[in-house]
């Protein structure tokens, strides 16, 4: 493998959301299973969209998850509390790439970092559609 990128810090992210962990998040090794990280990414992105009023049944265009990924730098475990940092790394015509960092308790360096790509489609036709203007404007604030 090529040299691994160093973990990012809190200053690399624009907003944060706090998540609690659950006993069952720990796997047989006693640490957060690699899958749980994605549940926190998913909750962070959708939480921000909900708070901003940018997701819901009244909207004509919806975001489908096209690609996700995560690099694991160090262990986390229940009962850690996790701060998830969020930023927007790329805005395309019909897609957005969110990048996320997971910070264990008071840690300054991320325990894991990943990304989450949404492609927007028309709700009815499911064909790609431009990002709605209000969404694009809000996403610009996360750059």
């Amino acid at each position: 493998m090529a040299a691994r990128p160093a973990p990012g810090g809190r200053a690399d992210y624009r907003i944060f959301r706090e998540h609690s962990t659950r006993w069952m998040d720990n796997d047989a090794y006693g640490h957060l299973n690699n899958v749980v990280h994605y549940a926190l990414f998913d909750a962070t992105v959708n939480g921000w969209l909900i708070e901003a009023g940018l997701i819901g049944p009244a909207r004509a265009r919806i975001g489908l998850v096209a690609e996700t990924g995560c690099r694991y730098h160090s262990e986390m475990a229940y009962p850690d509390r996790i701060a998830a940092g969020l930023r927007v790394a790329h805005l395309g015509t019909s897609s957005v790439r969110y990048e996320l960092g997971l910070f264990r308790n008071e840690a300054e360096l991320a325990s894991a970092e990943g990304f989450f790509v949404h492609v927007y489609v028309d709700r009815a036709t499911r064909r790609p559609a431009p990002l709605p203007p209000d969404l694009r404007a809000a996403l610009e604030t996360l750059r």
Copy 2:
């Protein structure tokens, strides 16, 4: 505590559904976390309803989960395969009590047994409504 009931056997259940387990189902003790049992109950009951055409957006009455419970007799662990047995223990005017047993691989005795109560309501008003006749007829076959 009072004396615990002995585990039931496969003959105590009417139909069975097979479930695979997942590595992350194992918790820090290396066995199936107590929560996972309910995910298998939930999948078994809803799976039977889906196969029987008794659940879906076209139906005017929907079942809400009112109560669930589980007694744990013995351990199960990934990569066990689990057979879930299902029977109907009680049919009320607007409710049904399913009982379930989870059998590890080829075991004849249940590793866990529990129940799952649905109360039927009108989709629009969310007030209790009689069990639909086609559902009641199908549930009778699980007694």
Copy 3:
């Protein structure tokens, strides 16, 4: 079904722990799946035990989950935050029955209530063993 007990209030519980919810906790009905409640019970009980230093590899007796249950009073959904109340309802020679209530955001009445029974066993023999004295003393404070 017999008349259902009314939901308990916050004053019915002795301590509280805060939990965040996750987007994937919502099921196809857009509300917290019935299984998730048990993940919160499990995290609440084990979290209290960890904070009190009453669980861990150095301890000769371990608690196995013998029985759990939940009654669902009303819906919760991501992104609700959930306060889990905990009390001890019964202390036997080798077992403890925890009772829990889940409170949605600022609600005073529980959305769901349930219980969680641990039976203590010797770690090596897995045979029932009396509750360790330090655990019993701590559990008395949750009555």
Copy 4:
């Protein structure tokens, strides 16, 4: 975004493992939540390692998850059954990259494809260590 790669087919993978889905795997959109795909990747890789006797407490070197990723081609939903295909794409001195495809029921094209990188470390020191020879030999069969 650049053009997306076309979905792979079953012939692109060396071995397959069957997974059941669960009602709670469906999220508020009524399809498999993006997180669930990783639970199936994780179960597939660890299942193969367990069957091959290449994981367990007696082994001096353990694999830590360093990176994972997934591209989502099309929807899957409970009660689909999912065949997970597995192949080895890269063998380094101390790391292995697995690639996986998830196939819905009888579909020939993957609904999602991803990867899973394990880095092997000494269990005691947690420093990178060469892949054990028996593991390397087994991994060669998945190329």
